[in-house]
Amino acid sequence: MFEKYVIVPGTLRNVVESGRTTGFELGVRMPYYRGLGLSMVEDVALTVDGVRAAPEGTTFTVHGNSYPLTGLGEVVDDRWELGEVATVRVDHPGGLAPGVHDVEVSQRLRISYMPVPGGGRARAAVELSA
């Protein structure tokens, strides 16, 4: 469900801080029909051109609030809202090369009424935006 909308076109870009390219980021939606508390977002794994981004170097941001991806389990007072575009930022000095990249997003959501994890995978060829 909603896999088609997980990877948001036009949101893959390099992150430049103080004139240095320190990483890249992507806009991602959650494939679910309601909002979910962040403590139940178990993983949002980005794989670009076959290389999985390290969870330790990944930051997750919703409506201006940023959290380390590995710390989401403790966030019981904030949510990823329905259809909200979260920004997933990956530390990656030098960033990504210009052009089209093979992007895969794999999400694992802890949905209490489901016997297996929710979430799912989405994959798309995405062009790096300026």
Binding site: K4, Y5, Y33, G73, L82, R110
Partner: protein, 329 residues
Amino acid sequence: MSHRITRGVSLYSFQEEFFLRTMTVRDAVAVAAKIGALDIEIIPEQSIPGFPRVSDEWVRDWHDTMAEFGTRPLAYDFFLDTLRHPGRRLTHDEQVASVRRDVDLAVRLGTTKLRAIISTPAEVLRDAAPYAEEAGVQLLLEVHAPFHYAHPWVLRHLEVMDALDSPALGFMPDLGCFVERFPRVASERALREGARPEVVDLVVKTYDDHGDVHGLMDTVNYLGGGPVEIGLARQATHYTWRDPRMLLEQIHRTHHVQAKFYEMTDEGTEYSIPYDRIVDVLVEGGFSGCLSSEYEGNRHIQDVHPVDSVDQVTRHHAMLERLLARHEN
């Protein structure tokens, strides 16, 4: 025989448009009013940003919208996030507190029927019932496929209901229990995703013959099935076909119906669910609640065409109006 059934819409029906931000709650309520579906069901975790902190301003807008369109707040779907914390389940008391929180918000929204998700333990509803009764609302267990009234999980709820005899407890069946034919929107999607036609035929035919679907996932696996094919076989075990007369078993405890549907056809019928027989059974049983439309076809067609939930819900209500009119003098 005349009837006392009302028509309504669950805002769940517009999940595609809400997800993509092409419709607001107000837009959805306007659609409901236009088609005479005056009872509104809301999924607060879907429609209210910031849940469970809901501002007085949001609540005021909600009531203003109802007044503007002549609609009524009726039902509130709650979830119970028992796995909210990594590594542990919510305690019993925490689960009861979660339900009480939802009762409080339901009162603010003016919704008197709370959808208790099927996973809610009977003991949690038992211990939340006095609070709901005091608040003047009902906690209605959704009886959702593959469950039914003789299932051990539901029997436990029946024991609690018998013992407590509280007006605050009851049922809210989901018409997805009565899927007579495999939804073609689901099988067609599997074909688009590369499932082999012979495997899709096997799944659909086994289901449509009301055959034994329990071995299907294994069978499809033995046939070398991939994830799409095995997923389709799994769906065949999640839809259920039961005689609509099952509704009569607990009709005295049925205070709301989630009128699930997957595809309204050009002929004005639901492809999979025999609404004509269902409406007749509900009238026969004297059901006096709401048939609340719950469109769930979007997830099967969103890969190939834009979803038009408004059109589907409009067609659904044309059908409901026609079927109910047969029982009006």
